[in-house]
Symmetry: C2
Subunit: 198 residues, 2 copies
DNA sequence: CCGTACATAACAAACGTTTGGCATGTACGC
DNA sequence: GCGTACATGCCAAACGTTTGTTATGTACGG
């Protein structure tokens, strides 16, 4: 009807960015309308103008979380199969400051998501999608003979378990687990996987 | 000194229990003085009488977390080495409702701990202690020739990574990951570990 | 009495949300 | 092309609620 005089989507993304910034610094416990407005240098009115309420703010933040994980400035998968799987794992891990911020938010979201039915369902779906992506690479690897032919779904769960657990430890002890060490652990894990018998 | 007409420590533990209950149901985001008092069927005055403030409440909750993790009604380790390691992993996983509640609180504490320097340090220490426990079993297993002789510290990190990641997935998808499935994943993981070359 | 145990109630601060208003743009009959 | 009509962007302020904390009062065993 009446085109916005300022780009609505662009401005909305500015708000998203502010939300992101607050979450990275103070976690979900510190996410308030005023904090977002302050990070944006605006009033709380602006925030509610683009997001109906705090609930929508959180939901949107979690959406961005998944989207950024998927479309990360990713190392291009050098090859299908096992190499692609390795790349997917590395793309999740906090190997860079930006990735660390993302993971901090991710881990922080679990407390909220575990107590809110809607967010819980959404989060469960997200993990299912991630596992599906891993599973694709696993099946490719199996066809290439790089991984023994055990149930790919179970393998995907194992891979995601290992990766997520490593994320948590890396966040709480970044000095002990720098990027190089994380990468090596991933390689050790994958080496163990490929040796598993069918 | 203490004309205790009620046992101070006992009452204090009642408050702890109420804190536990609130955390299990609503997470750290829902932990308030009034919620604790309500769960206890008392006033907030009672709560503040035993814990100076919310901060102490949280700190105490995390202490309980570690203590309960340590003194879990644990399956006795059937044998040293690999069997003990397996038992330790199973003792962490949410295989029972009580263990699930504990893990839910544990996972939820990460958001708070990641944004509070004191809690962060305390949490890092806790994980180091857990890894130390795992490492002991790993070294035993290595002496028994059950696990190849790679750096036990790195192995402990891998084991904890896998276990914690599995905890998170199990919490978000309990139907897909019942106790039996979790146990099987642990066995698969350990089987892969033992085949790793030195 | 005195100190512990707790309830009651008040408090300021912070919270999410709503509202009124002032701009500033587009749409359109004329 | 111009003025009215209306939608959008955003601020400032206020709303009522909930928060953590503190002060005051009552009951009672020693």
């Amino acid at each position: 009807m009446s085109p916005a005089r300022t780009d609505h989507d662009s401005r909305r993304q500015d708000v998203s960015e502010a939300v992101w910034q607050v979450l990275a610094e103070h976690g979900f416990g510190g996410l308030t309308m005023r904090a977002v407005a302050a990070a944006l240098g605006s009033s709380t009115g602006l925030v509610t103008h683009y997001f109906a309420g705090k609930r929508e703010l959180i939901a949107h933040a979690l959406d961005i979380l998944e989207e950024r994980t998927a479309h990360r400035p990713r190392r291009a998968a050098p090859a299908p199969g096992l190499a692609a799987l390795r790349t997917q794992m590395l793309n999740i891990l906090p190997l860079t400051p930006a990735a660390a911020a993302m993971n901090r938010i991710w881990v922080g979201s679990w407390d909220v998501a575990l107590s809110d039915p809607d967010l819980f369902a959404a989060q469960s779906l997200r993990y299912e999608r991630i596992r599906a992506g891993l599973r694709t690479s696993i099946e490719e690897a199996q066809q290439l003979g790089e991984i023994p032919d055990v149930d790919p779904g179970r393998l995907a769960t194992m891979v995601l378990s290992f990766t997520h657990g490593l994320v948590v430890q890396a966040l709480f002890d970044p000095e002990r687990l720098p990027a190089a060490t994380q990468t090596r652990l991933v390689d050790d894990f994958l080496a163990a996987l490929t040796r598993e018998t069918a």
